[in-house]
């Protein structure tokens, strides 16, 4: 044996040191709670949130005295609990998830709607295209199983029997379509189709929103409590956000360049980001936003949402939407 002698004292010291370091994670945790306002995004950083990056970069928040942290999302990142627990003041989620959370006891209000048209799309290849919902019959569709209710609603809206569509679970990946494993994909217009285009794979897209699927997406949620107690901060936060998106619409290429420069560690492709930034405008801009401004919604669009959400088996009240923040900003 070539061990150095181990003394009792050394052992005790080691144990004490170890015990002390056990508490290190706790200190680590408490060091995280800073006074900054957190804004929980719904996915990994990309130009999808270009307006928020413009707001941060151009100082639209700091000039109002706000210290805003943009929290990245991910495949396993929760938005609703983060907002509900108060970790984030503001979160981005879709109307269907917000209403599901409310059914489970959350007290969310949707205060603005970034995507007037829902971005969900059926993407297919030109040789075997899906141009209308009826084309789905007999096809294999690749999608995240969590999105099954969306397909079910589309089918109900267009009199298609969902049992005649074969669902193949895939995740965040266009490869199954390109490899012929499935005939089409349920995905976002601004996501996998653009990746395929950039990779040189021609593709056909059918926007669900063009076939009756009216669900607000990329909506801004806050809790009722926050709306009461932190109203001034929410107004300032949203005003900066709106200014950021207006700067984005003025120059989508600049937003794409900013996003790529801001996140050098993500390996984002500038061309892809530019394409995505431009395409996203189609979903966010509408006659409504032309007239009233970014994020606006009306009783009619809310009613359409409630009707579609009903097809998703969600009982939603119009109270989920609250336009008072937007009215204060634009008023």
């Amino acid at each position: 044996m070539k061990f150095p002698p181990i003394s009792r004292r050394a052992t005790l010291g080691l144990l004490a040191g170890g015990a002390a370091s056990m508490f290190a994670p706790m200190r680590f945790a408490s060091a995280q709670s800073n006074p900054a306002l957190n804004f929980q995004l719904s996915w990994l950083p990309s130009v999808q949130f270009g307006g928020s990056y413009m707001a941060e970069e151009n100082g639209y928040w700091s000039e109002k005295g706000l210290d805003v942290s943009l929290l990245p999302g991910g495949p396993n990142a929760p938005v609703e609990p983060s907002v509900m627990a108060g970790t984030s003041l503001l979160g981005i989620t879709a109307a269907d998830y917000a209403s599901a959370a409310v059914a489970e006891g959350a007290t969310f209000k949707i205060i603005a709607v970034a995507m007037q048209k829902n971005p969900f799309t059926i993407a297919s290849l030109p040789g075997n295209p899906v141009n209308t919902p009826a084309d789905l019959v007999g096809k294999k569709i690749g999608m995240a199983v969590a999105n099954t209710p969306i397909l079910a609603a589309l089918c109900a809206l267009n009199d298609v029997d969902i049992n005649e569509i074969e669902i193949v679970p895939t995740q965040y990946d266009p490869a199954p379509l390109v490899n012929g494993e499935v005939d089409c994909l349920l995905c976002w217009l601004t996501d996998l189709p653009i990746a395929m285009t950039v990779a040189g794979v021609e593709n056909v897209t059918m926007l669900l929103a063009d076939h009756g699927y009216a669900v607000h997406s990329q909506t801004y949620i806050v809790t009722e409590e926050a709306l009461e107690n932190q109203r001034a901060e929410i107004v300032a936060l949203m005003a900066g956000e709106i200014a950021g998106w207006n700067a984005y619409f003025a120059d989508t290429d600049a937003a794409a360049e900013l996003t790529v420069a801001k996140f050098p560690d993500l390996g984002l492709d500038l061309e892809t980001q530019k394409l995505q930034a431009a395409k996203q405008v189609d979903l966010m801009a509408s006659p409504l936003t032309e007239e009233y401004g970014f994020g606006w919604f009306t009783e009619e669009t809310v009613a359409e949402n409630i009707a579609t959400l009903g097809l998703l088996d969600r009982e939603v009240s119009a109270d989920l939407w609250d336009r008072s923040i937007l009215e204060e900003i634009y008023g």
Binding site: G18, Q32, S82, M84, D173
Partner: protein
């Protein structure tokens, strides 16, 4: 442990094997998969790594640092807990039970919860890395701390010294080979834990890059990242092994002694412990569940307490419907998990025995085996699914691959533990290698095999649920993904509870079998 002599001819053969493998890969990728977005040839992978070298280095720096911190904290906790358990035997059952329950918590559910608790930053990455390693260190270390010849302890006692001296002078040293073996497994596991942590929201790191690559149809990028991740895991594994050889020179000084069953003689006492101990453990775990959530003041919206789940599954109005949904999903998962578990375990043990007979094969196959385990499951799962289909076979293979590698490492270690005198005895009779293997080495391997089999239970469940979540969309893994996106946290926590219960039960069954088998084989191991 003496260094094996390096023969140039043998080395050349190994290099030739590697070159052949790479060439075959290149040809298959170029010719058979040229038009498909599945497999990248090695040259394309290498080019991509060189092209994006600075990017990959920065990402690697982040993920490796997260993994290292988690590795250090997780193993430190494991070591302290193991020492505590051996020093204070009465707390063992309870400590084992709680440690096991924490290890069995499914990552798909714990990740988001950790993110909410920690807020932004590295908290979840580090914690998941620590959680991935602490248990695989804790269990073998408890075995190692006990693997001490009784006469050594008698010697300490005859000098009038107590348990503290026994611990520092005998037990800790005797446990070092076990520690090194488990730290080797821990190195790739910590890396995987950090990557899964990045899925809960991060803006840099290998995990983030691999999602980006998969989404943007960047197959070369996906394979480049898988290659880098595997290389890091193998380097981590090798570094720990090298450190172990530097420190713990000399073979393990003892026969491998299994933990003694300390069942009391009186029947009613034995029954009392058999029923009372699990009940106490369950009560303590439920109490911890409630108290920790209350202490952290977690919102009842997502952090459901035991009472909420009881209402949801047992006393509530819809309870029967909730139960049948839960059990249907659980059944679908178990149909693939159980065969996958036995396949991985069997393959690991058989291959370890084979390697023992053919050291040259070990040199070639070991890195391949490590690589297979080290490629993040988010990358392997879709690839395996593509090759084997989204049916039960693909799932079964994923589960088997996940537990194969730890079993192999553990069994190899066990095989080498065969006491030198016994091997000398066989050698003096010129016993053929197979006889040596079955009569000397395999019995010495059994405790390690059982340790691996126990730890593989929660691993198999984790692998199955993660693969269901990512690729096949079936079973309870999928149910967890569905319910977390629709904020149905009652069902999510029900899944967590039932999965944990299943893992713990499986673990107990293996432990029972282990006691039976080792009580037969233990006497042969202590012949001297």
């Amino acid at each position: 442990m003496t260094k094996p002599p390096l023969f140039t001819a043998a080395q050349m053969r190994i290099y030739a094997w590697f070159a052949g493998l790479l060439l075959a890969w290149e040809l298959i990728a170029r010719l058979a998969f040229g038009d498909l977005y599945i497999l990248s040839p090695p040259t394309a992978i290498l080019l991509r790594i060189l092209e994006d070298f600075p990017l990959y280095c920065r990402a690697l720096g982040t993920t490796v640092l997260e993994a290292l911190i988690g590795f250090a904290l997780g193993n430190l906790a494991a070591i302290l807990l193991a020492i505590l358990v051996v020093a204070l035997p009465p707390i063992e059952r309870l400590a084992q039970a709680i440690a096991l329950v924490v290890f069995c918590l499914p990552l798909v559910a714990t990740g988001p919860v950790l993110r909410v608790i920690y807020g932004p930053g590295w908290g979840p990455q580090i914690t998941l890395a620590a959680l991935s390693v602490y248990y695989t260190t804790f269990v073998p270390l408890v075995v190692g701390l006990r693997a001490v010849p009784p006469n050594w302890l008698d010697l300490i006692a005859s000098y009038g010294r107590g348990r503290m001296t026994a611990m520092t002078v005998v037990r800790i040293r005797a446990s070092l080979p076990y520690l090194v073996a488990s730290l080797k497994i821990a190195a790739p596991a910590a890396f995987l834990g950090a990557i899964v942590g990045e899925f809960t929201g991060a803006d840099r790191g290998i995990g983030v890059l691999s999602i980006q690559a998969m989404r943007s149809l960047d197959v070369d990028g996906t394979w480049a990242l898988a290659t880098i991740a595997s290389a890091v895991a193998i380097i981590g594994y090798a570094l720990v092994g090298w450190g172990g050889r530097l420190l713990a020179i000399g073979a393990p000084p003892t026969l491998l002694v299994s933990p003694k069953a300390r069942a009391p003689q009186v029947l009613w006492k034995r029954i009392g412990i058999a029923i009372g101990a699990p009940m106490l453990s369950i009560a303590v775990v439920l109490l911890l569940w409630q108290v920790s959530m209350d202490a952290l003041d977690l919102s009842r919206f997502f952090a459901k307490r035991p009472g909420d789940i009881w209402t949801y599954l047992v006393t509530g109005g819809q309870a029967a419907a909730h139960r049948s949904e839960l059990f249907a999903a659980l059944g679908a998962t178990m149909i693939v998990t159980i065969p996958g578990y036995f396949a991985g375990l069997g393959l690991g043990a058989v291959l370890a025995a084979l390697f023992c007979l053919l050291p040259t094969v070990e040199k070639i196959a070991s890195p391949v085996a490590i690589a297979l385990r080290s490629i993040p499951i988010v990358v392997t799962a879709p690839l395996l699914v593509l090759a084997l289909g989204r049916g039960q076979l693909g799932m079964l293979v994923i589960v088997a691959v996940m537990i194969f590698f730890p079993t192999l490492v553990s069994c190899l270690h066990g095989l080498r533990q065969a006491p030198g005198q016994v091997i000398d005895y066989f050698n003096s009779f010129r016993a053929p290698p197979l006889t040596q293997l079955f009569l000397a080495r395999v019995p010495a391997m059994l405790p390690s095999l059982f340790a691996a089999a126990r730890m593989a239970v929660p691993m198999a469940v984790l692998a199955a649920t993660v693969a269901e979540w990512l690729a096949t969309g079936t079973g309870i893994g999928n149910l967890m993904a569905l319910t977390s996106s629709t904020s149905n946290y009652n069902m999510l926590w029900s899944c967590v509870a039932i999965l944990t219960l299943v893992s713990v039960t499986g673990y107990m069954l293996v432990a029972m079998l282990e006691r039976r088998v080792l009580s037969h084989f233990a006497p042969e191991q202590v012949i001297q």
